[in-house]
């Protein structure tokens, strides 16, 4: 019951937030430009095309009517057509979604496997040389421009050493998409060659994205563990003479890691933003590469569609994390 209240509570805020996102994108695409129709039509459009688009989009109507129409269109899944591919933007985005999700999900797993243990060790051995070294490494990891790091990795591992593929998601055309996630598809087909090839192509992009993500996880885990270590319940349990190992495993880590798990939402945002440039560098055929190509070819509908999709995904993930946190943390549902 309490969980249900929590979910409803969070959902109530979900819709105004998405509406707000729509309003921002509408403002950027319809109010800022002097002639939105010219933007949608692209650089080489004739005046007739622009006029036709203006009439079709209802740009001669008052703004509030335009906004209602805009929301109606989005709800029907109509984000306009891409000038670059000539297909509906919504379709293009959906076909590229699995590639980006696969990349970000693998990255989150890798970053957690590296970041959580390092964060715990860093906190338990506070002010040791390891803690200081990790402080510098994590700050550095968050200071590197991911596009530059990606290029350096390519330069070293693909161009000089030749041990990783330079770019792309797979050799050749890849398997006929079942789920669109190559790793899962390869497992369904039980084709180890495809699986190996897909994983091989993932190494560098995942490494690039995982660096800032792991750095963030290390810092949050460290802070969480330190907080738990200084709490009254740990003091109590230590005073009761519980073995240190038991206190740490059973009480400190369990409480500290709840905090880390809830940071996944934030990290997902970092990854989604990072995917834009990382996909561009590695030619990874996901949403990010689509967005960059759209920017380069002034494909206006496509850029706005990407903004909308990325924003919505971010909001949804945060909603899920919020609800999960509420379910895990009894203080939230009280």
């Amino acid at each position: 019951m309490k969980t249900l209240v929590l979910i409803v509570n969070r959902l109530i805020w979900f819709f105004p937030t998405v509406l707000g996102l729509l309003a921002i994108v509408f403002f950027i695409s319809h109010v800022i430009p002097a002639d939105p129709a010219a933007f949608v039509a692209g650089e080489n459009a004739t005046p007739e095309t622009i006029a036709a688009i203006r009439a079709r989009l209802g740009l001669d109507q008052p703004l509030h009517i335009q906004f209602v129409r805009y929301i109606e269109a989005i709800l029907e899944g109509d984000m306009g057509r891409s000038i670059f591919t000539g297909r509906p933007v919504a379709e293009d985005l959906m076909s590229r979604l699995p590639a980006t999700l696969e990349l970000t999900l693998v990255t989150i797993v890798v970053a957690s496997l590296i970041g959580i243990p390092l964060g715990v060790v860093s906190a338990l051995k506070r002010n040791s040389w390891l803690d200081h070294a990790l402080r510098v490494v994590t700050i550095a990891g968050l200071a590197i421009a991911s596009f530059w790091f990606a290029i350096l990795l390519q330069l070293l591992f693909s161009m000089r050493l030749g041990i990783t593929p330079l770019s792309g998601r797979i050799e050749g055309w890849g398997p006929e998409p079942i789920t669109g996630f190559y790793v899962i598809d390869a497992l369904i087909l039980w084709d180890m060659e495809i699986l190996w090839d897909a994983l091989h192509h993932m190494i560098l992009p995942v490494a690039t994205l995982a660096l800032p993500a792991a750095a963030t996880i290390v810092r949050f885990t460290r802070a969480g563990v330190l907080n738990a270590l200084e709490s009254n319940y740990v003091l109590y349990e230590t005073a009761m003479g519980y073995p240190r190992r038991l206190v740490i495993w059973k009480y400190v880590l369990r409480n500290a890691l709840i905090g880390t798990v809830t940071q996944i939402g934030l990290i997902f945002g970092i990854l989604l933003a990072g995917a834009v440039v990382v996909e561009a560098v590695f030619d990874w055929p996901g949403l990010g590469l689509f967005a960059v190509n759209a920017i380069l070819s002034s494909d206006y509908n496509a850029v706005m569609g990407f903004t909308l999709i990325a924003g919505t995904m971010f909001i949804v993930v945060n909603l899920v994390v919020d609800i999960l946190q509420g379910m895990i943390d009894p203080r939230e549902t009280r």
Partner: protein, 284 residues
């Protein structure tokens, strides 16, 4: 204040950060004198294109034969201009909104905070891309895109801090003595929350510089021949693996500067705001 500075001076990491920032500022101010080829921001020497680092061109030359070292120095000016202006605008918008929304309670305050929440609900770079794409590539538009996406961070922070101290005795005393709301906000609340604002602003500088470089890399920054660091890296990709210096040094410059702000911000936070442990979200 002196105690804070002394504690900060003991933090070697923070001092390294400060040194990196000072280096950036000096490079930007003295770019015409420090550079070996001051004209190379616009001039090219095709005979010398893509020559490796050496005595003539310390960090090598780019595809036009222009000196990379000199262009990096002038690029520092662009970086500082963009980051300082964008952050200043974001602070000027965000802080008053946070103060007012935190001081008064009611529908208006809720609405203001909801609006900033919505802005925070979209990854900054994504929003900045959309705005910069609409406005077109120029230095002013990058600044506009960045300040439009970053102000909510200050609004949120100042709002939370104002809410947490507005029932403190010293604020109530000021109100009881008949101070106007404006006076209470500016002279009593603002000074006591300034340390959080300073910390957030220092770390925000690093994030803004990264985002600005990313916009440049994507071709949404100031147009060529501007020696913007991100754009330089984008240009260099065609000439890899041969001309490694072309990509390596601009990225190193970005890294050093962002690292500088992050280190200093981290140290400042430890000294000024012990409540906020080093959990931080840099690069946002």
């Amino acid at each position: 204040m002196r105690r804070v500075l002394r504690k900060l001076a003991e933090d070697r990491a923070a001092m390294l950060g400060l040194a990196l920032i000072v280096l950036l500022v000096l490079a930007a101010i003295f770019a015409p004198w420090l550079s070996t080829h001051p004209g190379d921001v616009a001039e090219f020497h095709t005979a010398r294109r893509l020559s490796p680092p050496g005595p003539e061109n310390w960090l090598g030359t780019d595809r036009m034969g222009s000196d990379i070292y000199s262009r990096l120095l002038f690029g520092a000016r662009i970086t500082i201009t963009i980051a300082v202006t964008a952050i200043t605008i974001a602070v000027i918008i965000g802080v008053p909104i946070g103060l007012v929304a935190g001081y008064y309670e009611g529908l208006g305050s809720d609405l203001l905070m909801r609006v900033s929440d919505i802005f925070l609900a979209v990854p900054q770079i994504v929003l900045a891309i959309a705005i910069a794409q609409t406005l077109g590539p120029s230095i002013e538009n990058v600044i506009l895109a960045l300040s439009a996406t970053y102000w909510p961070f200050w609004a949120r922070l100042v709002y939370a801090e104002t809410r947490s101290i507005k029932n403190e005795p010293f604020v109530e005393a000021a109100i009881a003595l008949g101070c106007s709301p404006l006076r209470v906000m500016v002279l009593h609340i603002l000074p006591s929350i300034s340390s959080s604002i300073i910390v957030r602003t220092t770390i925000g500088m690093g994030g803004t510089i990264l985002t600005a470089a990313t916009l440049g890399f994507l071709g949404l920054g100031p147009p060529p021949p501007t020696p913007e660091w991100g754009r330089t890296i984008a240009e260099s990709r065609e000439f890899l693996p041969m001309a490694w210096w072309y990509a390596a040094f601009p990225g190193l410059a970005i890294f050093m500067v962002v690292m500088g702000f992050n280190l200093l911000g981290d140290g400042l936070r430890d000294v000024l705001d012990p409540r906020l442990r080093r959990a931080g979200q840099h690069g946002k």
